[in-house]
């Protein structure tokens, strides 16, 4: 019990005490409301719906295919299909959701809905100040509150959004080229037995 170990420990805390005044390595506290850490690109909190163009409900990419509602582990997505169809970015007629609710008090921000969505319609947001005054109701976000423009999506997830936009442009060009080719080519003569 000769006390040398204790003295060595005390020197260690003294070094930290002095270090925390000048060594940036030692003092890593970020004083939250005033200073904020820069958002990390891959970060994910709760999902949001992406819409193209400027008018939210018209530009919604979601085609109410309810894959995300089935795959969501805690079952917090609730979709009602709307029979009225509208053309999507390649002109194909797609359905749209009449009701699209996400219960963010149940959502565990796992991001599986983003992975399984075939239309890139739902992406993970980075907003984490989600507390509301009212415990009931305010935590069920409907499609109006969930919808956010595509350039917001480009702002927060640059690389991922970039790839998706490039792919969508190509599809659009291919679709227009196909449509143009179909319209330009004379209607083929009614080949006999066409209705095979």
């Amino acid at each position: 019990m000769n006390g040398l170990g204790i003295i060595k420990g005390m020197i260690e805390t003294a070094r930290n005490f002095a270090g925390s005044y000048h060594d940036p390595q030692r003092l890593t506290t970020v004083q939250y409301p005033e200073q904020k850490l820069p958002p990390v690109e891959n970060a994910r909190t709760i999902p949001f719906l992406v819409f193209d163009g400027d008018e939210a409900m018209a530009g919604l990419r979601c085609t109410a295919c309810v894959i995300c509602e089935k795959e969501c582990p805690p079952q917090c997505i609730y979709i009602v299909k709307d029979q009225v169809k509208k053309p999507d970015y390649v002109g194909k007629m797609q359905m749209q959701p009449k009701v699209f609710d996400i219960d963010i008090s149940v959502c565990m921000s796992c991001g599986i809905c983003v992975e399984v969505c075939p239309f890139d319609a739902i992406k993970m947001d980075q907003v984490f100040e989600l507390s509301t005054g009212d415990r009931f109701g305010k935590l069920l976000l409907d499609k109006h509150q969930l919808a956010k423009p595509n350039d917001y999506f480009v702002k927060i997830h640059k690389t991922e959004a970039g790839e998706i936009d490039v792919r969508r442009e190509e599809d659009k060009l291919k679709a227009e080229a196909a449509a143009a080719a179909k319209a330009a080519a004379p209607k083929p003569p009614a080949t006999p037995g066409a209705a095979k």
């Binding site: 019990m1 000769n2 006390g3 040398l4 170990g5 204790i6 060595k8 420990g9 020197i11 260690e12 805390t13 930290n16 030692r26 890593t28 990390v40 690109e41 891959n42 970060a43 994910r44 894959i67 795959e71 969501c72 582990p73 565990m108 921000s109 796992c110 991001g111 599986i112 992975e115 399984v116 993970m124 690389t159």
Partner: protein, 381 residues
């Protein structure tokens, strides 16, 4: 002044009614979660100690039977919520065994790196909590958490979340390493040893720590093996059993690292083994960072959504920071697993808690529980 001498001095046989029945927990500052120990004390010495579980039981296995294979992965983050990536890996590996999928090279290297980073987090946080139980008011814990923050930032930039990573899939990983991630990891691995030296300077020579941990909670080799104790607790007793070496799963066979073994199996050995294991993990990380290949990170054949493995069963296990974490899946051909079982290392390591605590004082019982390293999310499932 070993612990043995204490028990003989203090523990005169007390009449039954003189025992002080105390229930440590579930609301207690040092039970690492909602865990209760019904302790009966004779003065300060523990005479009987019965652990009680179930306060955090949400029947994760029943939920998994109703969920698809993909849907269970985010739930595995919530098992041992300090090391979410090793839980993911154990589950993904078992599903790969069940469905016959193989992860590409790059994904295996990323898995090894992430699980070794998780081991660093777990062991440093544990050393901090152990000292917190001994009464050092948060200083070691804050140093450990300062290092842990850097690793959590790496996880956030890769997987999107600090603790609930939900990153591994059966057949590989969800997304590739962002640019600059490997350089960040390399710099972290470079100056992590300075934290370990500082930690050892603060603690390992400290007389009070030696007095509080030497000869406390001794565990014999035979009892450890028979009671199924695994992980650092087992290696502290001297048994050479590390699943990374035994099964050499993933690409662990390609890395050269050593397995530290203790001698006496008391609390100090367990603390010291974890510190030495951190140094070994750093070696593995250096080698993995040096020769990680390029290439795809997920097996294209792996179907995410409705994976329906052929009827059969599979048991996969990995060397988690707390011990052998195993998953036992039975599939009946449907989209949901027929039976989904987790082998919780924390729960099984608690089997011999009473044997270690008898005859010690209540202050030791708290320190022994701290050295067992349990997380109630995994114990109660």
């Amino acid at each position: 002044m070993s612990a043995g001498a204490i028990s003989s001095e203090l523990a005169e046989p007390a009449a039954e009614h003189q025992l002080l029945e105390v229930s440590l927990g579930p609301q207690h500052p040092s039970t690492h979660g909602v865990f209760r120990m019904d302790v009966s004390l004779d003065g300060e010495v523990v005479v009987k100690l019965k652990p009680v579980f179930g306060y955090l039981h949400r029947n994760h296995e029943k939920i998994a039977e109703k969920c698809s294979y993909l849907g269970s992965i985010p739930y595995t983050d919530r098992l041992d919520y300090i090391c979410s990536l090793t839980n993911n890996w154990a589950y993904a590996m078992t599903v790969e065994k069940l469905a016959g999928l193989v992860a590409p090279e790059r994904a295996e290297y990323i898995r090894v790196m992430l699980s070794e980073l998780t081991r660093l987090i777990n062991h440093s946080a544990l050393a901090g909590f152990l000292l917190q139980d001994m009464g050092a008011l948060g200083t070691p814990l804050m140093y450990a958490f300062r290092e842990r923050e850097k690793i959590l930032d790496l996880f956030e930039s890769l997987t999107g979340a600090r603790m609930m990573c939900n990153y591994m899939r059966f057949g590989g990983c969800r997304c590739d390493l962002p640019p600059g991630w490997i350089e960040q990891t390399r710099s972290l691995v470079a100056n992590f040893p300075s934290f370990l030296d500082e930690f050892e300077a603060l603690l390992t020579g400290n007389e009070i720590l030696l007095a509080r941990t030497e000869g406390v909670g001794v565990l014999s080799k035979e009892l450890a093996v028979n009671a199924g104790v695994t992980g650092p607790m087992l290696r502290a007793t001297g048994v050479n059993y590390d699943i990374r070496k035994v099964d050499a799963y993933g690409v662990y066979g390609r890395f050269s690292f050593r397995v530290p073994l203790g001698e006496r199996g008391d609390v100090f050995d367990r603390y010291m083994i974890r510190i030495l294991e951190m140094r070994e993990s750093l070696k593995i990380l250096e080698q993995a960072l040096r020769d990680i290949p390029a290439g795809p990170i997920i097996d294209p054949k792996a179907k995410l959504r409705n994976l329906r493995p052929k009827p059969g069963e599979a048991y996969g296990r990995i060397e988690g920071p707390k011990g052998e974490l195993g998953f036992y899946l039975i599939s009946d051909g449907g989209p949901n697993p027929y039976r989904y079982r987790i082998r919780p290392p924390s729960l099984i390591n608690l089997t011999i808690l009473e044997d270690m605590c008898l005859g010690q004082t209540i202050a030791d019982a708290v320190v022994i529980l701290g050295s067992v390293d349990i997380v109630l999310g995994e114990v109660d499932r």
